[in-house]
Amino acid sequence: MNQLLDVKDLSIAFETNEGLLKAVSNVSFQLHENAILGIVGESGCGKSITAMSLINLLPSNAIVSSNQMLFNGMDLRSIDKNKLYEIRGKDIAIIFQEPMTSLNPLMKVGQQITEMIRLHENSTLKEAKQKTQWMMKKVGLSNVKKLYHSYTHELSGGMLQRVMIAMAMICQPKILIADEPTTALDVTIQAQILELMKQLNKENHTSIIFISHDLGVIKEMCTEVMVMYLGYCVEKADTSVLLKHPAHPYTYGLLQSIPNPKKGKSRLYAIPGRILKLSERPKGCPFCTRCKRATEKCRTQLPELQEISTNHFVRCFYPLDHPQN
């Protein structure tokens, strides 16, 4: 499989009044062609800004540094502005959590998609319109001619998210960044949208970076998962491996704290303590304040990301047992 995206040692910090706030530290990941990479974590773990930094969509007080950020052999760190605008939308598209606020309420939805085509492709208005309607049909919208001339407030959340996806997919991007695309939707609608994204992934060979806090959704969508905690990548593996044999105590805790029908009504496992603020990041392992297995070493030294089995990385001094070891 071809490597589409190769990011090494990505760090992001924000300049604030109280000084430099480190939000993401030394995150590395690769995205292969046709793959779906999941980034999972709780609020404030840096999962969204990691993805946003790829196409430079961060606020101006952010400082991004990395050893490598290759997209299709092109260095994303050093490209000029015009090139970046070209990549945005055409090669790397993005859909957000809130479809309601991500679309312009004063513009017809069809027009918004058509504009996307006209920005990136040399096509006449008529061609672009036709392509828009074709794409709208493809993402499962019916009565396309009428919808083309609707405004956002006339559409439901599920339909808007379909419009967002149509807009993102219209230029057949190589990478689609989906930032919690179904969190604001109902479960039956969520199932429809997930199905649609999988289908697009198969048919158009678009790679997806799928950001979510819901391990259930991740399990259904992704081939590979990266678990983030307080700006660090704490575990990275194939989805099935990670869910079956979590090696990092945090991943394990996350999985255990989801109600399991098989275990019945016994008490849930709850990770003790609270999620720290970014400004309170401990010196050692980010998870040491909530980890039962933490030792003095964990509190003072930051563990490195180590490979414990093929393609299974974990950032922990004492990873949980793995059957292959």
Partner: protein, 323 residues
């Protein structure tokens, strides 16, 4: 043993009137709750699931006394709520308390935690100032806070901590029924578990009855003894958790259960996903509410509303298939 009924809801209806846009326009309404009936037994957790806009929160608010029903009877401990006078209504509000979804707006930002927790007792004239303070300390200790939290403001607390304060606040009056309206949906996964455990512990300790409202089927299943499934203001299925999950009868329940992404299920589930979207509540279908999306829709579904019937013991469904 006959179970004791704590709360009974009969033929409850609620129509929200929409504001008139023209002076002589005929006033229309949104049907939020339509012919909902169920019982809650003492000591159980009754779960209410459904998607956004299905009326589950409205139902919670009506039972909690925040908004009046349009029609129907609610009985609490064999007393009809609608016929209560002001004094009785106040004592009733002691027995039914609510927990809300958003931990960020459920605590008054201008008041200290201690004040917020004392307020229920103050309003009901229980105890002197000293006693209030002592009770609050005890309750804070109960959910794992030390005394210093008495003098803190809500913005100094994290989301999970605030939700715990919200829970304590609803417990101050030792109510019999607690209506928990999406108590964990706004919280991170690792914090959710803490709150769910706490709710279970408190239920055991104080013999509480919960009306647990959520859109998250995993959570509802974990918490509840019996579950009601709502769709477009109607109760479409009602039954014990085991029955409902092992043998879902209504097509909506079935698709709802199959649509939930589950970490623990190994096999790829056979999805019976629903097509289309929830119809506008201002113009609900004439027949079964699901008829516009149902894969098994028959002719009579479109015109006749099915009644809620008992299929097996304690398992009700509102569907033409079972008539």
């Amino acid at each position: 043993m006959e179970k004791e009924i704590l709360l009974e809801v009969k033929d409850l209806k609620k129509v929200f009137k929409t504001p008139k846009s023209k002076l002589f326009e005929k006033q229309s309404g949104v049907r939020a709750i339509h012919e909902v009936s169920f019982k809650i037994y003492k000591g159980e957790t009754f779960g209410l699931v459904g998607e956004s806009g299905c009326g589950k929160s409205t139902l919670g608010n009506i039972i909690g006394g925040l908004i009046p029903p349009s029609e129907g009877i609610i009985t609490f401990e064999n007393k009809s709520i609608s016929t209560l006078d002001k004094k009785e209504a106040k004592s009733l509000s002691r027995n039914i308390q609510m927990i809300f979804q958003d931990p960020y707006s459920c605590l008054n930002p201008r008041k200290k935690i201690g004040w917020i927790l004392e307020e229920p007792l103050r309003v009901h004239h229980i105890g002197t100032k000293k006693e209030l303070r002592r009770t609050v300390y005890e309750m804070l200790h109960e959910v794992g806070f030390d005394k210093s939290y008495y003098n803190r403001y809500p913005h100094e607390l994290s989301g999970g901590q605030r939700q715990r304060i919200g829970i304590v606040c609803s417990l101050m009056l030792h109510p019999k029924l607690i209506i928990a309206d999406e108590p964990v949906s706004a919280l991170d996964v690792s914090v959710q578990a803490t709150i769910l455990n706490l709710l279970k512990d408190l239920q055991e300790k104080y013999q509480l009855t919960y009306l647990f409202i959520s859109h998250d089927l995993n959570v509802v299943e974990y918490m509840s003894d019996r579950i009601g499934v709502m769709y477009l203001g109607q109760l479409v299925e009602l039954g014990r958790v085991e029955d409902l999950y092992n043998n879902p009868l209504h097509p909506y329940t079935r698709s709802l259960i199959s649509a939930v992404p589950n970490v623990y299920d190994d096999k790829y589930k056979n999805k019976t996903s629903l097509k289309g979207e929830v119809p506008n509540a201002m113009h609900p279908p004439a027949g079964c509410p699901l008829c516009t999306r149902c894969p098994e829709c028959m002719n009579q579904c479109k015109t006749i509303q099915p009644p809620l019937i008992e299929i097996e013991h304690e398992h009700y469904v509102r569907c033409h298939k079972y008539l």
